[in-house]
């Protein structure tokens, strides 16, 4: 039992941090913020190329498919640092959403087809799961899959898809017509060229989202990862959702830590009444509470990472707790971080808002703290009259 990073993991963290310090300063995030939506992706492209050269996307891809075969804790280390730098990069969608889904669901041939390009050539991918109701759960999927000969035809609309307008490959969760709940679910990989995507106008342009329209899109059988009706579908999809959700929580803790550190530095530097404002007890206590919230969330984020890495049976509960705690954390650090900065934090020119907006967005996506808390209630058996239906992922 050890909740501290190993030396190798520590070195990975230092390396990622060093790279991001030069390749992803706030000025670079600002360029993305101040570009037009389609231009933003090109501003972020050099960072992605550098990450590919450093083999980061290959981290958790199994070695037979060109990856490094490392575990979820290593992935968590990278994701936390990316959150800390509010990095505009398709890493989260590719490495924490697309890769886990293909790894969980794909045959060896399919993993080789879809993961090797990620590992070796920086191809990108994402997961199209949620729809208009903003729920990242299998049971809520309405998009349909209809068999036509050897292929399948997908029809529906996906929303809030991370990098959905730019990802080379999109893993789509759909269901057989006429099914509901956990029945009839399947997973397909659709190439960007085969679908219509529309970038969403979002408050955090450093993490682009898109609508993905599937208008009678034909998908050949070799792009079907899980056949609709396969009994292992829900478990497979839920595992992928857990990996993706934990990654959002971990990235959020990184972003929240950055907000806390920036605010702490400001409290030391800013002087009023002839002394640093951080010497006032009213501010000290709030800063300690922010620090505690960040440590609380980080502890649960790494617990979730460990349960995934070791396939511990507590993983579902651990992921819900991690995302809930990260949500609680952002609520406090965004609130107090902005408030303690005073007027300057309220301006566009100050970099603080990049972090605030990332934290708020991350809470709202992949199940907010409110939804996670409800999932915890359910997992603890505190729901006495639960209507028949789906189980939380």
């Amino acid at each position: 039992m050890d909740f501290e990073l190993t030396n190798d993991q520590q070195e990975l963290r230092d390396a990622v941090r060093a790279v991001l310090a030069t390749a992803c300063p706030p000025s670079m995030v600002r360029q993305v913020y101040e570009s037009k939506a389609d231009d933003g992706a090109s501003r972020a492209a050099p960072l992605w190329r550098q990450m590919v050269q450093l083999d980061w996307p290959a981290l958790t891809i199994p070695e037979p498919f060109g990856g490094l075969g490392l575990g979820y804790v290593e992935l968590a280390v990278v994701v936390e640092e990316l959150g800390r730098a509010v990095a505009p990069t398709p890493f989260v969608s590719t490495a924490t959403q697309f890769v886990p889904m293909v790894r969980q669901a794909g045959t060896s041939e399919q993993q080789d087809t879809f993961l090797r390009p990620v590992a070796e050539a920086g191809s990108t991918g994402t997961l199209a799961l949620a729809e208009d109701d903003g729920r990242w759960e299998a049971a809520s999927v309405a998009t349909t899959a209809r068999p036509v000969g050897d292929s399948w035809v997908l029809d529906g609309k996906k929303s809030f898809v991370f990098d959905g307008a730019t990802a080379d490959e999109v893993a789509v969760v759909a269901r057989q017509e006429g099914t509901s709940g956990d029945e009839g679910l399947g997973v397909f990989v659709v190439a960007q060229a085969s679908l219509t995507s529309r970038p969403a106008d979002v408050i955090d342009p450093s993490q682009p989202l898109a609508e993905v329209l599937l208008d009678n899109v034909a998908v050949p059988a070799d792009r079907m990862l899980v056949a609709p009706g396969d009994p292992r579908a829900v478990e497979t999809i839920n595992r992928a959702i857990q990996e993706a959700t934990a990654a959002i929580a971990i990235g959020m803790t990184g972003t929240c830590r950055a907000i806390f550190e920036i605010t702490l530095q400001y409290a030391k530097d800013r002087e009023q009444y002839g002394r640093p404002i951080g010497s006032f007890q009213a501010l000290k206590h709030r800063l300690v509470d922010m620090y505690l919230a960040v440590e609380r969330a980080t502890s649960l984020a790494y617990f979730a990472a460990l349960t995934i890495a070791e396939d511990d049976e507590r993983r579902g509960l651990a992921v819900a707790m991690a995302k809930a705690a990260a949500g609680d954390c952002q609520r406090l650090v965004v609130q107090d971080g902005l408030q303690l900065h005073g007027g300057v934090g309220f301006t566009w020119e100050h970099d603080l808002h990049f972090y605030l907006k990332r934290a708020k967005s991350a809470n709202a996506l992949f199940g907010s703290a409110l939804m996670q808390r409800a999932a915890i209630v359910s997992r603890l058996g505190l729901v006495l009259d639960e209507p028949a239906g789906s189980e939380a992922p």
């Binding site: 440590e295 502890s299 790494y302 617990f303 349960t307 809930a324 808390r373 603890l380």
Partner: protein, 402 residues
């Protein structure tokens, strides 16, 4: 990073559990004759502490001659978790075992080790900590109890307050002022005072819950004479020991806080369906969310403790440790608060047999409301939550002093 334990640590756990099953006092025996305060050791507790000492299970991290077996930090963690799970105290005098004995072993003379520290470890004597005074609470260094060196003896005059277990303890590990002209941190010494020394009088201060079982006391010292040889460590160097004793207290004490919190959470989860069944669906959703929040907190406290522990094991410093007292005590308090609130009208009933036993113990006999009130013992003592925040702000976050 990993969740599971090494096979060797699991082996250690099995060895201990087997020994514990064969030797532990029975719950009936413990309940029939409970410790009346943290300075009281009933006969079963004296026998049990001695049994643990002799078998090397009292302080496993120490060498055999001091009641241990040179266990590794991870083994000590497993040991403390299993002790808490078994719901058996190592000693009913936790401040004696956790703070006073280690401090005397570190700073005391051979005679003091022989007559004060080892008897605590063998379950023969109990000690209390004379720290706070009416004018020196959070600001401990302002203490004014005076010890004047007169030849080969000290003459002590003054008053302590909030002294846990002084009503039953055999002796006091007393912080007193020995140089009133020095700066306040620099004129403090520690003297060992037997409670039955003439001039020492103890007046219990019944608490707001269960006043029939007082834990806290006022202790008055009027021309109390003790041998100069009772000075622990160096004259006027007691402040280092105040910090040192707190370090002993914080070293592994988080494990028992975490385990106590876990036990309370389990009791709450056991009770919750009964409470929720009496609520309407809208009320139930609100109540269940409150319970879930606390569950997240209790798990976070444990994981935060493990993170700090991981750093300490590597020999580094662990800022997480500074947060543990604050976080665990406030979570414990919220737990009592929420449980009593969700319980509703029934929460106002006092427990039939009264809340018994040491102040800080998990006490299933107490109602949630009583546990809530008692939890203030955790957020006020040993550095209140407000003082903890000041300390963390300055020592960990590096904010300037006010």
């Amino acid at each position: 990073m990993r969740l599971s334990f090494d096979r060797s640590v699991e082996g250690f756990r099995q060895t201990f559990l087997a020994w514990l099953a064969d030797n532990r006092p029975s719950p009936e025996e413990m309940a029939a004759d409970p410790a009346l305060s943290s300075g009281h050791a009933p006969p079963w507790a004296r026998r049990w502490t001695r049994t643990m000492f002799d078998a090397g299970w009292l302080v496993p991290g120490w060498p055999p001659e001091r009641g241990g077996r040179n266990a590794s930090p991870l083994e000590q963690l497993v040991y403390l978790e299993e002790m808490a799970r078994a719901d058996v105290p190592r000693s009913t005098n936790p401040q004696g075992l956790g703070i006073i004995a280690p401090s005397i072993l570190d700073y005391g003379s051979e005679e003091q080790i022989g007559s004060y520290a080892m008897p605590i470890l063998r379950g023969e004597r109990t000690g209390c900590l004379g720290m706070s005074e009416p004018g020196a609470g959070s600001d401990l260094a302002a203490l004014s109890t005076r010890a004047v060196l007169d030849g080969d003896q000290f003459v002590i005059n003054g008053q302590k307050v909030w002294t846990s277990g002084a009503n039953h303890a055999d002796f006091c590990f007393l912080f007193c002022r020995t140089d009133p002209s020095a700066a306040k941190h620099k004129g403090i010494s520690v003297v060992l005072v037997d409670i039955d020394t003439p001039g020492v009088s103890v007046r219990p201060l019944p608490e707001l819950v269960a006043p029939e079982y007082p834990e806290l006391n006022e202790v008055f010292f009027t021309d109390v004479v003790v041998p100069a040889a009772n000075l622990v460590g160096t004259l006027n160097d007691g402040w280092a020991m105040a910090n040192g004793s707190l370090a002993h207290e914080r070293g592994m004490v988080w494990v028992s806080s975490v385990m106590a919190l876990d036990a309370s959470m389990r009791h709450m989860l056991d009770a919750a369906p009964g409470w929720l069944s009496k609520l309407r669906s809208g009320e139930r959703a609100v109540a269940a969310a409150m319970v879930a929040d606390l569950y997240v907190d209790t798990q976070a406290v444990r994981c935060l403790g493990y993170r700090g522990f991981g750093k300490l094991m590597r020999g580094g410093s662990a800022p997480e440790q500074a947060l543990m007292k604050l976080f665990s005590s406030e979570t414990r308090q919220r737990l009592g608060l929420v449980a009593a609130e969700v319980e509703g009208a029934a929460s106002v009933t006092v427990s039939p047999q009264g809340a018994r036993g040491p102040f800080l113990a998990v006490d299933e006999a107490s109602t949630w409301m009583e546990q809530y009130f008692r939890s203030f013992g955790l957020t006020i003592s040993a550095g209140s939550s407000e003082i903890q925040r000041n300390i963390i702000a300055e020592k960990v976050l590096g904010l300037p002093r006010s």
